[in-house]
């Protein structure tokens, strides 16, 4: 079996050194090696967006990249965006707008929404919907998810 490789990641501001085999996805690196279980494994095939994290400032699917490929990267997961008592404005907005039911897709939705606002390509509600289409919500909270993002984008939660 191929041997583990030493990699360095900065995850939620904390420098981490770890040893992973080449075939371990970034998602499993975060969940199994760093025990950051906020990032969810939905389909594990790039179809649902539940595993979305922010890597070097850009939202990506952590299931479709390898831990070893991200050696040296800075990763932000849901744990790094906010904590109980100190929520990110988009987390606050998700509560206010009832933007989830089961909550499984929520960490990915919020990481995706935070990155979307930083990208600055979505101005209208239609554009937000299009640029959030990589995050599926099987409970059907999509309307409220878009409401929450629009509220933060328009400054209601700053």
């Amino acid at each position: 079996m191929s041997s583990p490789q030493e990699i360095k990641l900065t995850v939620n501001g904390k420098a981490e050194r770890l040893s992973v085999r080449p075939w371990v996805s970034l998602l499993d690196t975060l969940r199994h090696h760093l025990h950051l279980n906020g990032t969810k494994k939905g389909c594990d095939h790039g179809q649902c967006g539940a595993c979305t994290v922010i890597c070097d400032g850009e939202r990506i699917l952590s299931c479709l990249t390898l831990g070893v490929m991200k050696d040296g990267s800075e990763i932000t997961t849901i744990e790094g965006l906010g904590q109980p008592g100190n929520l990110h404005p988009l987390q606050e907005a998700f509560l206010e707008h009832d933007a989830y039911q089961c909550g499984y897709c929520t960490p990915g939705q919020i990481c995706s929404g935070v990155a979307l606002m930083k990208e600055g390509h979505a101005n209208t509600r239609e554009e937000v919907k299009e640029l959030m289409s990589g995050n599926l919500c099987r409970c059907g909270a999509n309307t409220n998810i878009i409401d929450a993002i629009m509220a933060v984008k328009d400054g209601a939660h700053e």
């Binding site: 079996m1 191929s2 490789q5 085999r21 080449p22 075939w23 996805s25 594990d44 095939h45 790039g46 967006g49 979305t52 850009e58 939202r59 990506i60 699917l61 299931c63 479709l64 990249t65 390898l66 070893v68 490929m69 050696d71 995706s112 990155a115 979307l116 990208e119 390509h121 209208t124 239609e126 554009e127 919907k129 299009e130 640029l131 289409s133 990589g134």
Partner: protein, 339 residues
Amino acid sequence: MNDFAYYKATDIDGAVNAAAGPKNNYIGGGTNLIDLWKYDLAHPEKLVDLNGIDELKEITELPDGGLRLGALVTNNATAYHPIVQERYPLLSRTILAGATPQIRNAATNGGNLLQRTRCYYFYDSSSPCNKRVPGSGCPAREGHNRLHAILGYSDACIATMPSDMCVALAALEAVVRVKGPEGERCIPFIEFHRLPGEQPEKDNTLREDELILSVDLPARGFAGHHTYLKLRDRHSYAFALVSVAMGYELDGEGNISVARIALGGVAHKPWRVPAAEELLVGKSPTEDQFARAAEAILEGASGFEHNTFKIDLAHRAILRAGAMAHDPSTQRPGAKPSL
């Protein structure tokens, strides 16, 4: 899923050397390859990671007025690049019609050209598939074939090429610059992907171990009149049933002086018929003229049980694209295009 070794290349020659051997794969974004590996459809023994090669990550202007898109530049970085948006808006909009922001942030330009078909039978490792296991058969011909080809298919394979970006690159007459053990060469875009024939396992004309360095765009970008019309089962994040990349230029009298039309979702490669484009030269950009071109582009098209609708759909899409190209603002991400 199999075990594999990993090598991070830092220069082009090092990557080409490290990739020598039939079971070694280059990896850029990994959005397709890792998925195929998880489905037990790709079995690399070694991955050669290209992300340490900075010279493949640049977009640079060429002396002839064209633009070089590095193979490792991501799809999103390409689509939102100011020069691409200004001079090649057809390419920008086409890229943004595909996949999702997360995938486009990881997927690279080189990798986009190499993504495999989404034929259901190709993706089902328990099913025969001539593309995956040559000689095993093609259940798509008699099975579910809604996504499949209406042009250029063979007895062995009726799969379609899934990329949006490649449809625009065909219309723009891009050139693919590659390097392999025997050196560097350039492949005109329309010769990069191939028809399935008797070797559907081969998607393209790359030789063994060749690495894509860049996709070079010629100066002509059709910024004035262009559109990418993508028709699909969902409004977002779905592969095209039929798509049309169209660009044309008008002369002083409002007649077409040059036109390019490429179709996606209909064949094993982006479908272009230069003779059909010639029919439009000197003509006004009216529905009648686009109908003549559509007839010529779709000549010989025939479908299967679940996809014959694509012939009519493609014909109408060409007419509609012709009208939309007059006013490119009618197509933007999230907008429902209307005439």
